[in-house]
């Protein structure tokens, strides 16, 4: 609890996301029971927790997809979400998916620029059905970033990818974040992923954010390092995974 308050003192005015005392129940089940979270401008926060702990619910509330919560939530004007499935429109070519929702002027150029950033220039005119999982998810990322969001919400975007693709995508996300400087909240099950990408990792348990860990390791993060291992062990313990 002390750590959270400290953060408030450190960055009171430049908050990108403010979540105060948020409650969300679905019928009888109370999922969030007073969640508090502040994300500073440009900060990358990883949100961890056991299955069913309410991580996705909290993210969806922040992403304005779920209005049925109580409490206070303040978010920037421009935010984008990337989901676990790419959720591309199958009847539109890749670049048109990226350009979806953009004003007509300059649309193709902006879409191509976003695709170049994720390394998919050659697939601009492809159909979504021809893409691999990793490629489709990269298109989804390009779509999220093309409109230059102030906040990027990531709901386990790499969970359905194979392990190698996941590692490459983590590096890509880190590069994009470094280049654009948006704030980010990443919901993930993967402790290593959280430590590779985030400035801060918070744990959701019993409907509240109960633990938090500042990841003050130099970037790019090295999963083989000693300090990394120590942080990993701490997070795993908080998540209830016993040491072997």
């Amino acid at each position: 609890m002390t750590e959270l308050r400290d953060l408030e003192v450190r960055a009171p005015a430049s908050a990108a996301v403010i979540v105060e005392d948020v409650h969300r129940a679905f019928g009888d089940r109370e999922i969030l029971r007073g969640a508090d979270l502040r994300v500073a401008d440009g900060e990358f926060v990883a949100l961890l927790g056991a299955s069913g702990s309410g991580k996705s619910t909290l993210l969806r509330i922040v992403g304005a997809l779920d209005g049925g919560a109580r409490g206070r939530v303040a978010v920037p004007a421009r935010s984008s979400i990337a989901f676990q499935e790419p959720r591309l429109l199958p009847w539109r070519r890749v670049w048109r998916n990226v350009a979806f929702g953009l004003p007509a002027q300059d649309r193709r150029r902006r879409a191509l620029a976003a695709l170049a950033e994720v390394g998919l220039t050659g697939l601009a005119d492809a159909w979504p059905k021809t893409l691999s999982g990793g490629e489709a998810q990269r298109v989804a990322l390009a779509r999220a970033l093309v409109r230059d969001p102030q906040l990027l919400l990531l709901d386990e975007p790499l969970a359905s990818l194979d392990a190698l693709t996941r590692l490459k995508m983590q590096q890509l996300i880190a590069q994009l974040w470094a280049r654009h400087g948006f704030s980010a909240i990443l919901v993930t099950h993967d402790v290593d992923e959280a430590l590779v990408l985030a400035d801060r990792a918070v744990v959701l348990r019993d409907g509240r954010l109960t633990e938090e860990l500042t990841v003050d390791l130099p970037r790019p993060r090295d999963p083989g390092g000693e300090r990394f291992a120590a942080l990993r062990a701490r997070l795993l313990t908080w998540l209830g995974v016993p040491r072997p």
Partner: protein
């Protein structure tokens, strides 16, 4: 533990299979059916009064074509069906959009549609004649009815079956209601909409037959009614074959539409 005994697997290498083109296979089935029909007639198993042989049907058709009556009847019927489709498909689509996109719309529109759709053509035709007089209008109105409901139901289902996750994701990019409807929901519903159109093309003709037989003035149904009254089974069969061919043609049109509009799909295409 000792190593297991091995057995040799039979490997065939890559097999080269020769495939007949699809349309040839489908056409071959029809040719075989006609061939069996002709054979059965020639062998005397199928008496002439029951069903004419294909050869007799072809002769009768030849006569009807050269006299011009078949061409004229087809033009009349196709014109009526065309008008019925031209009004019925947009009407069905519009009603389904109102009903599918808005829950209030569904409450308003759906029950009346479900009630109207089971009204029998045979029963309605005299009513239409009373309202619209004799002539083309009651027939076009019948076709309109026959077209509107399959389009409505299938479009409605298509709209409600659009993947909610896609719509949710699309919404996060602030597209506005118009773009959400026409860029996300309608394309997502398109496979079902085409099913509705395919069915509508069939019921259009079924509805027209009834109209052309009860209030007979030109058209294929009229030809068939005359042939029935004169017990000319060969001419009756000519008309039936025309309907069958129109059914096949309608289906072909929809298949072309599907290939053009739905090439983005990656669904099961048959084993």
């Amino acid at each position: 533990m000792t190593a297991p005994a091995l057995r040799e697997l039979a490997l065939t290498g890559e097999r080269r299979v020769v495939h007949l083109p699809r349309w040839l296979r489908r056409a071959a089935v029809i040719v075989v059916l006609f061939g069996v029909w002709q054979l059965v007639s020639v062998l005397g198993w199928l008496p002439e009064q029951t069903l004419s042989s294909p050869a007799q049907v072809v002769t009768a058709a030849g006569g009807m074509i050269s006299s011009g009556e078949l061409g004229e009847a087809m033009l009349t019927s196709i014109g009526r069906v065309g008008l019925g489709l031209g009004f019925g498909i947009p009407a069905g689509l519009l009603l389904a959009l109102v009903s599918g996109l808005f829950r209030a719309g569904e409450d308003l529109v759906d029950s009346p549609m479900q009630m109207l759709r089971t009204l029998p053509f045979l029963g309605i035709t005299p009513l239409f004649i009373l309202w619209f007089g004799v002539g083309d209008t009651p027939k076009i109105a019948l076709v309109f009815l026959g077209v509107c409901f399959p389009v409505y139901i299938n479009t409605f289902v298509g709209i409600r079956n659009v993947d909610g996750k896609l719509v949710e994701a699309a919404r996060t990019f602030d597209p506005g209601r118009w773009r959400l409807t026409w860029s996300v929901i309608v394309p997502g519903a398109l496979p079902n909409i085409l099913v509705g159109i395919r069915l509508a093309l069939g019921t259009a003709w079924l509805a027209l037959v009834v109209g052309e037989q009860i209030n007979a003035d030109g058209g294929i149904g009229y030809l068939m009614l005359n042939a029935q009254n004169n017990l000319e089974t060969d001419r009756i069969v000519v008309c039936l074959v025309i309907y069958a061919l129109l059914g096949l043609l309608s289906d072909a049109i929809v298949r072309v539409l599907e290939r053009v509009l739905l090439s983005w799909r990656q669904s099961f295409a048959g084993a």
